[in-house]
């Protein structure tokens, strides 16, 4: 190849990489821009803190927002302690043997299981077998199972980043293994654990398939008052408004508003996680 030809192929090659990146960024901005642009007009305190009225063609999304917050809290209460404990076991106690290998493989595989399968499992386990019925607690636990591998993986990474010398220092001072974990390892892993948990929960908050048959319902006038009540959720509300409603065109603005609130919620959680991670890595450098 002549030098001129080489230069031309290099130019075309690099430009095609730039083109790929531009296409992907354009899609992302199109999604964000469209939802912000068409949703922001509907947004008001009234929209956020009022119940849907007139067959959901007017009013707000309060029960759906409150339902999503509640189900996500249940998810957190279940998945964070179990996930963190599981990660502590894996990183601090487990020996490298076949059983541990199987355990790690099962975590990786669970992370790849489609969310609708968690929905099926949730119906059979929580709704039917444990007789929790179609309820916010069934949905929260189903989402919790789905989030678990995510929390374990990120917690383990945070624990692995704590230098070995810290553990050895504590042990040399006479601390027991558990005391070392509790007062030396965990405190310095907390930012990493928090970041991972927030990201895991933000995924759970946006999921629809696992809650579809385990407790979500399309219309309620109030947020759930007990753990056994059915609930409304933002993602499911958006699904109903955009595909199942009898006057789809008429409720489109409300659908945009719902999509925007959901998106803001998710981005907010991601930004918080991002800030914690940034601050934490800065401290490490010091």
């Amino acid at each position: 190849m002549s030098i001129a030809n080489k230069k031309i192929t290099q130019f075309l090659g690099i430009q095609s990489l730039v083109l790929c990146t531009v296409i992907v960024l354009a899609f992302i901005f199109m999604v964000l821009f469209d939802i912000f642009w068409k949703g922001v007009g509907v947004l008001s305190w009234d929209f956020i803190f009022n119940i849907p009225r007139k067959g959901m063609t007017e009013g707000g999304i309060y029960p759906a927002l409150a339902g999503t917050v509640m189900v996500t809290i249940i998810t957190a209460v279940f998945s964070i302690p179990v996930g963190v404990a599981s990660a502590i076991y894996l990183n601090e106690y487990a020996k490298e043997n076949m059983l541990t290998k199987a355990l790690r493989a099962s975590i990786r595989n669970l992370a790849g299981v489609p969310s609708i399968i968690y929905g099926l499992f949730g119906v059979a386990l929580f709704v039917e077998a444990l007789m929790l019925g179609s309820s916010v607690v069934s949905s929260g636990l189903t989402l919790g199972l789905m989030t678990l591998p995510y929390i374990i993986t990120s917690t383990e990474e945070a624990l692995r980043n704590v230098p070995h010398s810290h553990r050895e220092g504590a042990l040399a001072l006479g601390a027991t293994k558990w005391e070392t974990i509790k007062s030396v390892v965990l405190p310095s892993a907390i930012p990493g654990i928090t970041t991972g948990s927030i990201l895991g929960l933000s995924r759970a908050a946006g999921e629809t398939a696992p809650i579809l048959f385990t407790g979500v319902t399309f219309y309620l006038r109030f947020p759930p008052d007990t753990l056994n009540s059915e609930f409304m959720a933002l993602p499911y509300h958006l699904y109903i408004l955009s595909t199942q409603h009898h006057a789809i065109e008429q409720v489109r603005p409300i659908a945009y508003g719902t999509a925007l609130v959901l998106l803001i919620l998710i981005i907010l959680l991601n930004v918080i996680a991002f800030i914690i991670r940034k601050r934490y890595t800065k401290e490490l450098v010091k």
Partner: protein
């Protein structure tokens, strides 16, 4: 304390085995009433008034069709972005673009489905002169963008783990940047990139809400990408809510679930096998 931690540590195995047990036991219940062979035809109509039919092949074909087309779009785009981020973009630009691509991973699937309804669908309908945009192509386009973050981030990790000395050696031999990317870096990161694409495929074939919202969900064999399709995931989502408990139809949905579960396990093993087996074989 150690005992409690160990117990919770093994909880995930219990879940995985539990899911498998549940899918298997309900699948066996389906086989009690429905002969095994009747799953191997093209008609899925379990709620028919006369003879119910349980053929899964058309559903499986729809899932594969939508996913493969999504990969045709996502793989070149994803690898392009990953190479751009790892080899071309200055560190500052990379630190801006990477979080933006990660936002895409966080956008809920219903939101992507909604975009398919309000933007992609009408665009496809207008471009190709169709009456509506609820078809396989719409689903494929959306799934492509949903699997992109996986493909980009896993490929980029593979690209960045190629030692710097490989690049230096290539430059020393007189290759320019593009030739180095093409002949040295891509082959060296090849196994990781293939693993990334397999994971992206898995992400796409298991996606439910997006395809449910935009592919039209007709249970007829599609002739082209402009026909509506109904995937495995969408079928479970549509029918599980309506089907009475403890009927052959109810258990038949678990057969679909088991099939999806097996596909997701296979994909996981395959991607790990590829990533570990072919590392740095140049």
């Amino acid at each position: 304390m150690r005992g409690i931690l160990t117990l919770l540590g093994y909880f995930t195995i219990v879940i995985l085995v539990g899911i498998l047990y549940l899918l298997l036991s309900n699948t066996l219940k389906a086989f009690v009433n429905i002969p095994f062979s009747s799953f191997f035809n093209f008609h899925w109509n379990p709620s028919a008034h006369g003879e119910a039919s349980y053929g899964i092949l058309q559903l499986l074909w729809s899932s594969v069709l939508v996913t493969v087309v999504a990969m045709v779009i996502a793989i070149p785009l994803g690898i392009g972005v990953a190479v751009f981020l790892s080899e071309v973009a200055p560190e500052k630009l990379r630190s801006i673009i990477k979080p933006i691509v990660e936002i895409l991973a966080g956008v809920p699937s219903v939101t992507i489905g909604f975009i398919g309804i309000v933007l992609i669908g009408p665009f496809i309908a207008e471009t190709f002169g169709l009456s509506n945009g609820f078809n396989a192509l719409n689903g494929a386009v959306l799934l492509a963008f949903m699997s992109l973050p996986t493909i980009v981030s896993v490929s980029e990790d593979a690209l960045r783990s190629v030692p710097k000395s490989f690049r230096e050696a290539s430059y020393a031999l007189g290759a320019n940047k593009w030739l180095t990317i093409l002949k040295v870096i891509l082959p060296a990161a090849g196994s990781g990139i293939i693993a990334a694409c397999i994971l992206g495929f898995g992400r796409a074939i298991g996606e439910t809400m997006t395809v449910l919202m935009v592919t039209g969900n007709a249970t007829a064999m599609p002739d082209s990408l402009f026909d509506p399709v109904r995937t495995l995931t969408a079928t479970i989502a549509i029918e599980l809510g309506e089907v009475p408990f403890d009927t052959p139809h109810y258990y038949a949905l678990f057969v679909l679930g088991l099939l999806l579960f097996i596909i997701s396990l296979l994909i996981n093993f395959l991607s790990e096998w590829v990533a570990s087996k072919f590392r740095y074989k140049i």
